[in-house]
Chain length 196, copies 2
DNA sequence: TTCAAAAACTAATAAGTGTTAGTTTTGTAA
DNA sequence: TTACAAAACTAACACTTATTAGTTTTTGAA
């Protein structure tokens, strides 16, 4: 039987990926060396290759884990009952939760995707574009149902996604404002901008 | 007399800085090599050093040019006459203009500042923090004057700055929506979220 | 205790990095 | 045309990079 490995029961590969996300966020993908990553894992650099395929594979794993999480949630939200307003609000809240709970991974997916190699780079961008289009569709539905103002759906989605993404500036000082207040204030600010 | 140098009358140093901004944006600071930069300038790598001091000096120039532009505008906006609402709106519009007109530089300042060396890194962060605080002060004034809702000023400023920053996702496809519509829609969306 | 597989190690490689030294070419004022 | 400075060039250095090869250690079931 396997002993208690790293931390809990996560595989060493998962541990390496997690440490990589933290380093990629802190220093950027290109400025993070495998030797440095190995050191935080507590091992020599070549030993990493007993568990992973390559440095760029680590980036792929991180980016697509995040992308799939968002895509998966949106699919379930679309299929659920409820108004466009509700669906949009839930999706915004999901974005905020992801930012707060998977900070490193989401940050890396947002900032370091450009270092993905083909065909992963193209796939990632296609998936992201498709996600944005479906979100725009949600806003268009809300406008058609006269729940939203007659705004430009593209601009609205851009504004919302960007504002939520900005939570990355947040976590660093850990201000004395609760996540709950933060989330509600932000959802309010963003929805008030488009709801009739 | 000097012949017609690069493009207009810009110094070669400025040309190099401009090309560097484009490359830093496209590939990231660390992944951009001096040989690559030299090639886009049309010269061998060591020749660059007749005009610049170092690679990191290029990043410093770009980042502080942007930071100083924002700081300078905010100072003049604070000194001007007008309500907090007007000042905030003008500042948002200035951000949008900067994004649309100095795309590469602003992008680099937003994304690659972490590769600045000390003491420039600290100075940059201090300057940015100070900027945010003054913007928060603007919102607090608006709340005190009962022009704004009783929102959390920190969250509001974060939301606004992030939303405007998101314009970086915009320019790439050059959608068939005019900059004017974009600007007005975004200003509207953001101000409606906090104005009483 | 035995033994095989997993995973660590050391050593090395080929490629790429920013930058300097030293030299040649270019441009322009006298 | 001469002469000097600006700016280009080639060659090279000292370092770092991700990764592979080959070997030794560790692990855990039999």
């Amino acid at each position: 039987m396997a002993k208690i490995k790293p931390g809990k029961n996560a595989s060493k590969r998962d541990l390496i990926t997690q440490k990589a996300a933290a380093l990629f966020k802190k220093k950027g993908y290109s400025s993070t060396s495998m030797r440095e990553l190995a050191e935080t894992v507590g091992v020599e650099a070549p030993s990493l290759y007993n568990h992973i395929g390559s440095k760029s594979e680590l980036l792929q794993t991180i980016c697509f884990k995040v992308a799939n999480a968002f895509t998966g949630y949106l699919e379930s939200a679309e299929a659920a009952n409820g108004s466009s307003v509700t669906k949009l609000e839930h999706t915004i809240r999901f974005h905020i939760h992801m930012m707060l709970q998977n900070f490193n991974e989401v940050y890396v997916a947002n900032h370091e995707w450009k270092h993905l190699k083909e065909p992963y780079l193209s796939n990632f961008l296609i998936q992201r574009r498709s996600y944005e289009k479906r979100l725009i569709g949600l806003v268009e539905n809300g406008i058609a149902a006269k729940a939203f103002k007659n705004v430009n759906p593209f601009v609205s989605v851009l504004t919302i996604l960007s504002a939520v993404r900005g939570l990355e500036f947040w976590q660093q000082p850990k201000k004395n404002i609760s996540n709950r207040v933060l989330e509600d204030d932000m959802v309010n600010h963003l929805l008030k901008g488009i709801i009739k």
